[in-house]
Symmetry: C2
Subunit: 419 residues, 2 copies
């Protein structure tokens, strides 16, 4: 059984926004065993939408549409759906009350007719209540194809998917089992891993698919097993991952689908009753953010400093000016001094620091763009490493963060083995 996703909006085609909705929808459908055959992004144009609906209907059992529902979109999708299904718009009182309530609670500007018109829906559609916004979702069935329309605002669409669309799809269609296992690795590139696990990969049964997901120095391996015998699927996956662990266990971080290095670090720290703080220069807050983005970070993350200017390293972290003058602000010595200083200031068990040049030009430290020093201070020792991350400011910052996380995890894993 196939689904297709149609995202509507000129802003996607001219690249003003990135279509992150399709990825979310694809991932969620995939989890309930629905294959996405194609994702099509088209303009806010009625004829183009009609054509896309027709073509998708030929190929798919489920057609999910996002976008074109905002007040400034003139609700083009809603009107086009009406035309496509030869339907008319009727006012939905429940939606209208919801819109009025939302404005009363969250929106400072007064409610307008444009907003009220969003409570008009096609008479043949089942309304999917949008808890987070004013544009309702719609579900229409036609000749065994289910059409679902949702607003394009990501958090509104996500709410609709979880609360309305997925439960209804699971009720509506009888699906084979699909089970995913994700293996997060670190330290090795895609092709290096591919070579190490080549034989294992070739020996996988046809009902198990392997996918690689590389991202700035981290590679995620995803195994998807599909079939009607749930026990067989689970057993086979378990055995295969056991095999994989024997081959590349040294570079495996974890096995949860939403596993991240920072979460793994958090879990290890919480288990050990230890805490962390960070001192950032070139990563400029991104390292702290990687931890604080997760709920519950306060259990182990005490905080950090972004000592961006050289002087602030002296003023805030009390790094001795001599060290900076002697070794330069981007050096092993300064990185280690920063890690030790932040660990002490925040009274944490671990301290992590970054100092380097994210580019594009030479920084205070007068090192090449892409040169970064990372230091880890642990309860037992402090150590630092130097990296050349090449070009691209955003990329250098991202790689610096990932590498800092890797080094910290390495050390925590050592400890855990001992414990």
């Amino acid at each position: 059984m196939f689904a297709e996703i149609i995202t509507i909006g000129d802003e996607i085609l001219i690249g003003q926004i990135i279509d992150s909705n399709s990825a979310f929808i694809g991932k969620e459908l995939n989890k309930i065993g629905v294959d996405v055959y194609q994702i099509t992004s088209i303009s806010d144009d009625k004829q183009h939408i009609l054509t896309a609906l027709d073509e998708a209907k030929k190929r798919a059992d489920i057609v999910i549409i996002t976008g074109g529902l905002g007040p400034t979109k003139d609700d083009v999708t809603k009107h086009t759906i009406c035309e496509y299904f030869d339907d008319t718009l009727v006012q939905n009182e429940k939606v209208l009350k919801h819109i009025e309530a939302l404005f009363a609670k969250y929106i400072s500007t007064p409610i307008s007719d444009i907003n009220r018109q969003q409570s008009l829906v096609p008479s043949k559609s089942t309304v999917l209540m949008n808890l987070y916004g004013t544009a309702p979702g719609m579900w229409i069935e036609s000749e065994n194809t289910v059409f679902i329309s949702m607003p394009g605002v990501p958090y509104e669409m996500k709410g609709l998917m979880k609360n309305e669309v997925l439960p209804r799809l699971q009720k509506r269609f009888d699906r084979p089992y699909i089970i995913h296992k994700t293996v997060l690795t670190y330290g090795l590139g895609e092709s290096a891993i591919a070579e190490r696990i080549e034989d294992w990969e070739d020996s996988l049964p046809s009902f198990i698919k392997l996918a690689y997901l590389p991202n700035l120095g981290k590679v995620r391996l995803r195994l998807s097993a599909r079939g009607n015998d749930k026990n067989l699927l689970e057993e086979t996956l378990e055995n295969r991952i056991e095999e994989l662990h024997h081959i590349i266990g040294d570079i495996i971080i974890g096995y949860e689908e939403d596993e991240t290095i920072e979460k793994r670090i958090g879990n290890l720290l919480v288990r050990n009753g230890e805490t962390l703080s960070v001192a950032e220069s070139c990563t400029g807050g991104k390292l702290a953010q990687s931890f604080t983005a997760n709920a519950g970070a306060s259990k182990y993350f005490k905080g950090g400093v972004v000592t961006y200017a050289t002087q602030s390293k002296i003023d805030i972290l009390n790094i001795e000016a001599d060290i900076i003058d002697t070794y330069s602000v981007t050096s092993f010595e300064v990185a280690e001094a920063m890690a030790l200083a932040v660990k002490e200031k925040f009274k944490s068990d671990y301290g992590v620091s970054t100092t380097g040049n994210a580019g594009p030009d030479k920084g205070d430290g007068n090192v090449e763009a892409g040169t970064v020093f990372i230091a880890i201070a642990t309860p037992k020792r402090v150590f630092s490493k130097k990296y050349e991350f090449g070009k691209g400011r955003e990329r250098v910052i991202g790689k610096s963060m990932n590498k800092a996380l890797e080094l910290l995890l390495e050390d925590l894993k050592e400890i855990s083995k001992i414990v």
Copy 2:
């Protein structure tokens, strides 16, 4: 003249990665006056690729393909293109040398045959050198349609677009002028702005298109003028934006396409010879990152502290425990104390602070999820505001950051008026 973008990769359809490439390509094509008619994401399947190429060819003069070129992809795109154009693969020495050089310089793992095979290209293709990776780009013309294939790795694709694809397309096709002007606003929602500028919008000539781009409290307006009389376009745009300024000048931040609140703040601070530091609790480093993500931030951004744990607010910023006990850690009083303290510690002219509960649960401060206090300390005064950002941790953090930036900009604009 139309272009179509085809992104290849199962990982896109199952939502393992977000297709950010299409947005970049669409934006760049749009700038040189090429309309993207459709973006299609398909699987790593030969037949699906062949069908997509055929359909795109019917509708477009330019077909841009990304993905399916990685070593672990078995270079499916390359082999399919060979089949589509009835061509064969030949080794390209220049590409081979480049691959070997890249491995020697950046990659710790030894070069493999899989990597060397990436220097095989279709004989009818013009090779587009990929400076940042091992998979080359390819350009093939057939019956007046240009087919361009690039690897899916974003920074490799971006390099190829800028260095090879865009210059070649501009040479190959004679295009009408297209001129964009972007107006970044803040503080008002999409529909509220739409109502304020309704008459102005209705009066726009047909050769000017207006697009709205809302994002967590900020709305970007983009005017696109297209035609053959460059002067007329520029003049009309200028006049129209002048008109717009009279209508909503109070909420306009700037007029550059890549304008952001943080850049605008940076420019104002540099112009005034002033500096900034930030004290973050609930935004957890995101505010600092918004500044340090831009090259040259060191000219005005001294740094910041992420005092995530309550105790760290006392230890690092020396906030009096009494204030926290009396008013709670999430309060106007603590927010203002944080802003003043960080300003003093970093010896900066401005200090910005955030403290609140990003959710999902109640935090130390025992306020509802979504409740956030933001304070701004300036050379003259300190002030703070309270917000209710509703649900969604990521969203609350993002809105907190944007609102903090807005408040700071407000104050800087006041100053600038006086100056």
